[in-house]
């Protein structure tokens, strides 16, 4: 360094940067994906904000997990991709289940017979349903499973499923569906469905108790145990018998819990030592769906690839009105799936996700969440026709897929609370006044940027029982004016409050101000939201005290009824009004059932409960619709919840992604997705030309900072004592 001239140093730095840049290769340098063959249609997406915890179809019960499970497994039933209201379809079976009604003695009876004690579902498995290639099906020369080991050491060389050189496959059999239901009942699996399904499937509880008492060493073949409600009639036909009538059971058959599991797969994963290397069904699913898992790295990415044994399947030829115009039927009748490989990379933070999406490295903004809320301001503008893409992003030709989830978020009253609960007229008026004061439309605009729809009904759009327009308006809180629902004025709320015994928000008897207590989940609400609520209720003269707590403590309060107003949400399991109306069914009150009941408002209306019991066992039709309408009316009249809204999310798609219609219930939509990979490659290069001048500027800056020091140092080193003394004198 001592002999270096500044120019030499600069040259050295320039050479170093040049070498670094040349090592980067062709742009885009910021491409986070590894190179892949051009001929493959690879879908680049995200898993966010955390990797899935469970992928065993008996155990998993989370929407971000079903995103993968529903591509890999094919349950007996499924949903039409395009039609709304949601329409059920046979998926793994040939046709809709055949229903047989039985009396207590097991004799067949008519559907409407009062003696119906059981319902038997008969299902016939598709003939062309095959499992993906998997080592569990690999056989040796004698037809015995190839990969069965006696000790952990024998199989120690295999750390992941792709490590097994041999694979096999076979047809899906009726017994596989039955085996899967037995796995739900095996207490060792800890399925969340056990407690619930044991109420319906005949013999499930007894099966579970019997299996629990069995001494286990390694794999327990559940085929050795019978469940009274399950029968395999032949290779392709099986029956499930449930107690009483439960028409919604067919919807459960569309969930992954009922997907087929081959017993040999279960046995394979019980090889000694496999669980210590995470070689389990919970981590490496094996199904007959359009895709199979080829990589499961919770730290980095989950990769699905086309299942070569997937049956013949085609893009639907019909949709709901408007789908044709939107181009959603452009691929009608074409064989699916289109995508060869789907890569879901872990993204925990929204900024990197959003940046990669805008750079073209992710095809969509999200899978289970649109991820647009955090960056909404820069992505969208509110135009005359609603939400539009901002000008900055106009050249990206991004398309939007709005998604009104079949769910509700609400703040509910505890109907057993001495202040806001009860069924007298004054209590109803008090709650209605509070409902009117809580301006849900304003709340959604401010805090959710319009991503939500004010609910007048506890049944969301897309589900029978939900009504739009004037017929769907809650007449206790809104009026229908000039073709739209308008919230009743605050003066009317004040009047109701006075009639309830609280003129100007003060108790007419004591003069004390009315104070309400709202239990909120601390992680789900901010100070600004609380301030806003404080303000809206102060318009009535009502004081509010918030009681923030984490979810565990909130849950405790709900279980013990120790709450006045609480926040909660519900996402539908299936598109039937029963899945929402049960949220107010009396016996579902946690105080009554001494369980995690869904009726956290502890609503208890005999009429409602009677109607619910009738509605639950009725098939869809006018009679059922009338019962549903009456229950909705009771919900409105009794003002059970403070406010409700339907969550809405916007998913963004880059211009090369097609068939992106959101399905609120089913996640089995990857097989419909199509990409123009050539356009994507072009756009990625165009959008990601690196800007290199900052590198040169930084290098020059660093040299500029160092050089004065070097010069000063050299001067000091070369100075003589005399010169230094002269400098000091001067």
């Amino acid at each position: 360094m001592r002999n270096n001239h500044p120019v030499q140093l600069l040259a050295l730095v320039a050479i170093a940067i040049g070498a670094l840049l040349s090592a980067c290769g062709e742009p885009p340098w910021n491409n986070p994906h590894p190179p892949a063959p051009d001929e493959l249609m690879i879908y680049q997406s995200v898993m966010t904000p955390a990797p899935p915890k469970h992928l065993d179809p008996a155990i998993s019960y989370a929407s971000d997990e079903s995103l993968y499970l529903m591509q890999i497994y094919e349950p007996p039933m499924g949903y039409h991709f395009l039609k709304r209201p949601y329409e059920l379809l046979p998926l793994g079976v040939e046709d809709f289940p055949q229903l047989t009604y039985l009396d207590e003695a097991g004799n067949e009876v008519e559907e409407g017979d009062d003696n119906v004690a059981f319902t038997r579902y008969t299902l016939t498995v598709r003939e062309d349903e095959h499992y993906q290639p998997h080592p569990a099906f690999a056989l040796d020369g004698e037809g015995e499973p190839l990969y069965l080991f006696d000790s952990p050491e024998a199989g120690a060389a295999f750390r992941q499923i792709p490590d097994f050189p041999q694979t096999g496959h076979r047809r899906v059999l009726a017994n596989d569906y039955v085996y899967a239901i037995k796995r739900l009942a095996d207490p060792l699996n800890g399925s969340p469905m056990l407690g619930f399904m044991a109420q319906y499937i005949v013999g499930m509880k007894e099966f579970s108790e019997r299996v629990a008492g069995v001494e286990r060493e390694g794999w327990l073949n559940l085929d050795d145990f019978t469940m009274k409600g399950l029968k395999v009639l032949d290779e392709r036909t099986y029956t499930i018998t449930i107690m009483g009538r439960y028409p919604q059971f067919v919807y459960w058959l569309a969930m992954h819990f009922f997907s087929p599991i081959a017993p040999e797969v279960d046995r394979f994963y019980h090889n000694p030592g496999f669980d210590q290397r995470n070689l389990t069904l919970d981590w490496w699913p094996v199904g007959s769906g359009p895709y199979m898992m080829v990589q499961n790295n919770p730290n980095s990415a989950i990769v699905l690839e086309r299942n070569p044994n997937y049956r013949e399947d085609f893009f639907p030829t019909e949709g709901e009105p408007g789908d044709l115009e939107k181009g959603l039927l452009a691929d009608a009748g074409k064989p699916i799936p289109f995508v060869d490989r789907a890569v879901y990379r872990l993204e925990k933070e929204v900024l990197p996700l959003w940046t990669k999406f805008l750079q073209g490295f992710y095809d969509r903004s999200g899978e289970v969440h649109g991820n647009t809320n955090g960056v909404f301001d820069q992505a969208f503008v509110v135009g005359p026709d609603g939400v539009e893409m901002s000008e900055d992003l106009a050249d990206h030709n991004i398309t939007m897929s709005p998604d009104v989830k079949p769910g509700i978020y609400y703040y509910g009253f505890n109907m057993r609370d001495p202040v806001v609960g009860g069924y007298t007229e004054d209590k109803r008026k008090l709650r209605q006044a509070l409902q009117i004061a809580f301006n849900t439309e304003e709340y959604l605009n401010i805090f959710y940027k319009g991503n939500g729809i004010t609910a007048h009904n506890l049944i969301p759009p897309g589900i029978p029982g939900h009504l739009d327009g004037e017929a769907g308006v809650n007449p206790y809180t809104h009026d229908w004016v000039d073709g739209e629902a308008v919230r009743k004025p605050i003066e009317y709320a004040r009047q109701l409050l006075a009639e309830a015994g609280y003129p100007s928000g003060r108790d007419a008897r004591t003069g004390e101000p009315l104070k309400i207590f709202i239990d909120v989940q601390s992680q789900a609400i901010g100070n600004t939201s609380m301030n806003w609520m404080d303000r809206v209720f102060s318009e009535l003269g009502v004081q509010v005290e918030f009681r923030p707590a984490d979810w565990n403590r909130t849950r405790e309060k709900l279980l013990t009824g120790n709450t006045q107003i609480y926040s909660h949400g519900w996402l539908a399991d299936y598109p039937d009004p029963e899945n929402f109306l049960f949220l107010l069914y009396g016996p579902e009150s946690p105080l009554l059932c001494k369980c995690d009941g869904a009726n956290n408002s502890n609503y208890g209306s005999e009429e409602y409960d009677d109607l619910f019991r009738q509605m639950r066992v009725l098939p869809p039709g006018e009679e059922r619709a009338a019962l549903v309408a009456r229950m909705v009316e009771l919900f409105r009249q009794d003002a059970v919840w403070l406010f409700v809204y339907y969550p809405k999310d916007i998913y963004l798609n880059n211009s090369w992604v097609y068939n992106t219609k959101r399905h609120g219930i089913s996640k089995a939509t990857l097989k419909y997705l199509r990409l123009d990979t050539e356009e994507r490659a072009r756009k990625q290069v165009a959008w990601n030309q690196p800007i290199t001048w900052p590198l040169w500027a930084t290098a020059a800056g660093v040299v500029g900072l160092i050089m004065p020091g070097v010069v000063a140092y050299r001067r000091r080193q070369n100075a003589t004592a005399r010169k230094a003394a002269e400098r000091t004198r001067n």
């Binding site: 910021n30 407690g195 290397r277 369980c595």
Partner: protein, 325 residues
């Protein structure tokens, strides 16, 4: 020295028991086994039977600390605390609450953590020492005063600002490197440039200022004046005289961190999508996975104790006068 190390390792046992007890208590103050069960079972249709089954399957069906229904030593041993803690001391971390093998996960995740932490650590120290020495060389000049001002300014800026600013400028605006991720198949080094750069720049303020203070103390010593009087160059004085003599306090702060590098960084890993142990811990806390939290705290404690022992050993290397008795 060997006896000293053995003694220190024996001291570690009560420390580890204490840390484990504290972690256990803190975790179960805010979470009950029922909460954990509900969290794992999915919050919908969760029946009391399902909760009981989960607790039994995962070993949470016993009392926390004292089993009043048991007899003899089982009053203390037939408890969640004892059964879960004992295995830790045998380095059997068991399975996470979601069923994955923790040892496998830790072994897999420590490499990405190291890949970021090690260059960050090494380059960071090198840069900080060089910058500090340069500033010391110009002590009491305008350059020195400006440098201190810059150091304090850099220290005052939030770490998050460096991360988000770095991502915005280098990855989003200039498009020089990927904004986040870690892909072993796609030139993994290019994913490390930004987190290491951010880590080094964010650490310059505090690091260089601290080293400057240490070096200045040495710079005023007699042996430095003697070296200068004998005609040694400033570079030689800085690197051959001041730096070795300032090593003891530097080692105190640095060597203790070396084993902990395996544990990764919560912020860096989370924002840059590095699949290391830092984000593993963060995810476990969010999902109430006590098995992982307990194991990670235990591993962290052991590594910290090893770090302290290594620090003591490094003193003997840096200063031959130090003896470990």
């Amino acid at each position: 020295m060997f006896a000293y190390i053995v003694r220190r390792m024996l001291y570690a046992i009560p420390i580890l028991i204490g840390v484990n007890l504290l972690t256990f208590t803190l975790f179960f103050v805010v979470n009950s086994p029922d909460d954990m069960a509900v969290s794992q079972l999915g919050e919908k249709y969760v029946t009391p039977e399902a909760i009981a089954t989960w607790k039994k399957k995962n070993g949470y069906d016993k009392p926390l600390f004292v089993n009043a229904g048991a007899e003899g030593s089982e009053v203390l041993t037939d408890t969640i605390f004892f059964s879960k803690s004992l295995k830790l001391f045998a380095f059997d971390f068991g399975r996470s609450e979601s069923g994955r093998d923790i040892t496998t996960d830790v072994a897999t995740r420590m490499w990405p953590s190291l890949a970021v932490a090690l260059p960050n650590f090494a380059i960071g120290i090198w840069v900080n020492i060089c910058v500090a020495l340069m500033v010391v060389m110009f002590h009491a000049t305008r350059l020195d005063r400006w440098a201190v001002f810059v150091f304090v300014s850099l220290m005052s800026i939030s770490y998050l600002f460096y991360i988000i600013g770095g991502q915005f400028l280098v990855a989003k605006t200039w498009k020089l490197v990927p904004i986040s991720g870690f892909n072993i198949e796609a030139q993994p080094w290019k994913f490390l440039i930004l987190p290491v750069l951010v880590g080094v720049v964010a650490g310059i303020g505090s690091g260089a200022r601290w080293y400057r203070t240490l070096f200045l103390e040495e710079a005023n010593q007699d042996y430095v004046r003697t070296a200068r009087a004998k005609g040694a160059s400033e570079i030689s004085i800085l690197f051959k005289h001041i730096l070795p003599n300032a090593l003891i306090p530097i080692l105190t702060g640095v060597v203790v961190l070396i084993p902990s590098l395996f544990m990764g960084s919560l912020l860096i890993e989370s924002f840059f999508g590095i699949p290391g142990l830092g984000s593993y811990m963060l995810d476990a806390i969010k999902s109430q996975d006590f098995a992982i939290v307990r194991s990670m705290v235990f591993i962290g404690s052991i590594l910290y104790i090893i770090g302290l022992i290594l620090t003591d050993i490094s003193y003997t290397w840096a200063d031959p006068r130090v003896r470990l008795n």
